[in-house]
């Protein structure tokens, strides 16, 4: 027996299957495929302390979620030498948590037309969405879903083998007059997970270079053009400059600016902050989508069905407070009414828990059998995420951030734009897609199941636009040798920061301030107070203290850089919200309860005078921040009211939004 085992071990040791790393002492983590062109050169142009490696590519994509992967392999398919920089492994991006479905007017369940989907999306956005981008998205939707299905995504099927579509998310037929439409395609209950894995698997067929666990620090801008990205390799602490003619930003949303959000810890708005530091504006940052009942601490959302089945919301005094705010509907009032009532209760001191910052959702007065049959799995959910036995104790809940409608402004082709002298001007070399971008298909409010569609359509749009305007292997514009100096200096400053407040304390302060002042309940005084507090918290960033002085996998450093990004997003959100004096979609104010458009659409239009641009609010907010002082500057840009082709699909004139 012993002789056999000795023979076996000898064979294992001599096999070539062992990784190189175990055999020799010099460790090389990156694979270099034989014969592949990689112009990586080490330079010490910007720093002698940090090794800087320069790369050259035709296109660089920052972020590898649904939109990033689609853009990356779309570009590789078109023949471009593409790099995909991501701080997480692609299948760990937050797209994996999107478990709803994708909307597309395929017409499998009943006759359908993408123009009706277009109408529903325009109405859902409260007429703040750019109608040309919405036209593009809804027209491309059936082709995009069929393309995904051809990539191998296992949608659920009808008996005939067509993709099964269900009713969801405010979709209607015949421009709102034909009843509920069935447009939502799904993959059992894990559409986002399946989408991400399908796209990742597909992207491996093309030779995109993946730079996984590289944290993108800044854009390299010169003469108003984007010439690349500078990133930190978290594995070994080296700085990498990626020079390219085209950069696509697909970094996702910034839910982590709030105390309670459904987003992952990595949703820190890095792309928005990079664009802000480059001096470009971000659009519609004040529109943040909330859900009333998110579990305190965990951030998972509890379905409205709980209240539909008889669950009630109670405050610290045990009172069913919804009776005061909505005497008829009580707990079944609409989501924004419930969110606002909960926030008012917490503000007035009747919140529960040691910090008095949440309310309770009570379900134990319902018979346990009924709960188990109507809402199977809820006892598991409550035990895992809230640690309560739902048949004995109430669940702590508070309004939770779910999606950010705002982001980097783009046109319908995915190119980043600025608004100067009354016109939209394209920033050469810069593109954006996904939740990080604001092509404004969602406008003031996102409809359910539209965001996964947004990812794939605009990811593909960015790839197509780049393929149209450039050719692979084009010569790159010159870049100053010292490009990226400030980013490295900032990195060094944060790495050796020795102030008094820790990163986690500043972050918690920011999150609590945003949750108390820029959440669902917005009034002039509350927002103004919040703006002042946020300005003060921004100044405390000078006093930050970090502990880890190393450079290899320094998560303290990366979290502090992420906090810098979060701060820029938070400042823009709260200042834009304070300035917008109306209620539209997800942004609702107690002191200005109505929508303020150029004409009053509640009354007959004949004889009404159009309000000038400065006096109405049907416009996009373009916010920019001075990173040194934290001062926010706001400008406005008109909404695009014309569709791409007036004959194929006429634009929808604004009207009152009621469901």
């Amino acid at each position: 027996m012993a002789s056999i085992s000795r023979v076996l071990t000898k064979r294992v040791l001599s096999s070539k299957a062992l990784p190189v790393a175990a055999q020799c002492s010099s460790r090389s983590f990156h694979f270099s495929i034989y014969g592949k062109k990689d112009y990586a050169k080490v330079s010490d142009d910007i720093s002698t302390q940090y090794p800087v490696v320069d790369h050259e590519f035709d296109a660089v994509v920052v972020g590898a979620g649904g939109a990033g992967l689609r853009a990356a392999f779309g570009l590789s398919e078109a023949g471009f030498n593409t790099a995909c920089i991501t701080k997480l492994f692609p299948t760990r991006s937050h797209t994996v948590a999107a478990q709803g479905g994708i909307n597309a007017a395929l017409g499998n369940m009943e006759g359908d037309d993408w123009r009706w989907h277009f109408y529903d999306t325009v109405k859902g956005s409260d007429w703040l969405g750019d109608q040309d981008a919405i036209h593009y998205m809804t027209e491309q939707a059936p082709a995009a879903v069929v393309e995904l299905e051809n990539f191998g995504m296992p949608f659920s099927r009808t008996e005939d083998g067509k993709i099964y579509q269900r009713a969801f998310g405010g979709q209607s037929l015949q421009f709102g007059k034909g009843g509920q439409a069935h447009r939502c395609c799904c993959v059992a209950d894990r559409t986002g997970h399946s989408l991400l894995h399908t796209l990742y698997g597909r992207s491996l067929r093309y030779d995109t270079s993946y730079f996984v666990e590289y944290f993108a620090l800044d854009l390299l801008m010169e003469d108003g053009e984007c010439r690349g990205v500078i990133a930190l390799c978290m594995e070994d602490g080296s700085i990498h400059r990626f020079r390219s003619k085209n950069t696509v930003i697909a970094t996702g949303g910034y839910g982590r600016t709030y105390f309670s959000c459904t987003s992952a810890h990595t949703s820190t708005g890095d792309g928005n902050a990079m664009v802000t530091r480059a001096g470009l504006p971000c659009q519609d940052m004040e529109f943040v989508q909330f859900h009333p009942t998110g579990i305190y601490g965990a951030g998972c959302l509890i379905t409205e069905g709980c209240r539909g089945e008889g669950g009630i919301l109670i405050n610290s005094e045990g009172e069913r407070f919804m009776e005061r705010y909505a005497p008829n509907a009580k707990d079944l009032a609409s989501r924004d009414v419930v969110s606002r009532s909960m926030t008012i209760e917490i503000r007035e001191g009747r919140g529960c828990g040691p910090e008095k910052d949440h309310v309770y959702l009570q379900l134990h007065h319902l018979p346990p059998q009924q709960l188990a049959t109507r809402l199977p799995g809820i006892s598991e959910t409550a035990m895992i995420f809230a640690g309560v036995d739902v048949t004995k104790e109430p669940i702590p809940v508070l309004p939770t951030v779910h999606y950010n409608m705002g982001g980097v402004p783009t046109n319908y082709k995915g190119q980043v734009i600025t608004h100067t002298e009354g016109e939209d001007k394209v920033v050469p070399g810069l593109y954006a897609c996904g939740e990080a971008a604001c092509a404004s298909v969602h406008g003031a409010n996102r409809l359910g199941a539209n965001s996964l569609l947004d990812l794939v359509v605009f990811g593909r749009a960015c790839a197509l636009t780049i393929a149209d305007t450039c050719t692979p292997g084009e010569k790159l514009s010159p870049l100053k040798p010292s490009a990226g100096e400030e980013s490295v200096a900032n990195l060094d400053k944060i790495r050796f920061a020795n102030g008094n407040t820790r990163t986690s304390e500043i972050r918690l302060n920011m999150q609590r301030t945003m949750q108390n002042h820029a959440a669902v309940f917005r009034t002039g005084d509350v927002l103004k107070e919040g703006c002042d507090k946020m300005d003060a918290i921004y100044q405390t960033m000078e006093d930050i203290k970090t502990f880890d002085r190393g450079i290899v996998w320094n998560t303290d450093l990366v979290e502090s850089l992420e906090l810098q990004n979060l701060m820029l997003n938070a400042m823009q959100t709260i200042h834009s919200a304070e300035a917008r004096r109306e209620s539209r979609g997800a942004h609702s104010r107690e002191d200005y309860k109505d929508r303020m458009d150029e004409l009053d659409y509640a009354r007959p239009l004949a004889g009404q005078e159009r309000k000038p641009f400065e006096q109405h609010w049907r416009k996009h907010t373009m916010s920019s921040v001075d990173p040194k002082t934290g001062k926010v500057a706001l400008e406005y840009r008109p909404v695009i009211d014309t569709s791409l082709d007036q004959e194929a699909c006429s634009a929808i004139p604004p009207a009152i939004r009621s469901y």
Binding site: A98, T158, A188, L301, G305, I378, H402
Partner: protein, 100 residues
């Protein structure tokens, strides 16, 4: 050679009947060479449960799979298990809302 002697002694310890020993011995030889599938059931099919092992019954999913993965009411194949996720207007699964 040593392997065969070990196997032979092991089989001798387990059974005493001569004929049975021979058939078992040939059975062992044949399974060792991989030519014939063993017709005898395994004596200890499952490893004994340890102190910290969880019971299998505790990890049952509250949502049951449909027969053949086809929802009997809507005839959807490959769809979500359990009651319809969109019945309350949002996408609900195990009490959690994932989209609205």
């Amino acid at each position: 050679m040593s392997l065969l002697s070990v196997c032979a002694s092991a089989s001798k310890r387990l059974v005493t009947h001569a004929l049975f020993v021979e058939s078992a011995f040939t059975g062992y030889l044949r399974t060792a060479s991989g030519a014939v599938k063993d017709k005898e059931p395994l004596r200890k099919a499952k490893t004994p449960q340890g102190r910290f092992d969880m019971n299998d019954e505790k990890t049952k999913d509250p949502l049951e799979k449909f027969p053949d993965d086809v929802n009997p009411a809507t005839k959807e194949q490959g769809g979500p298990r359990g009651p319809e996720p969109t019945r309350y207007g949002d996408w609900e699964r195990k009490g959690r809302c994932v989209d609205f």
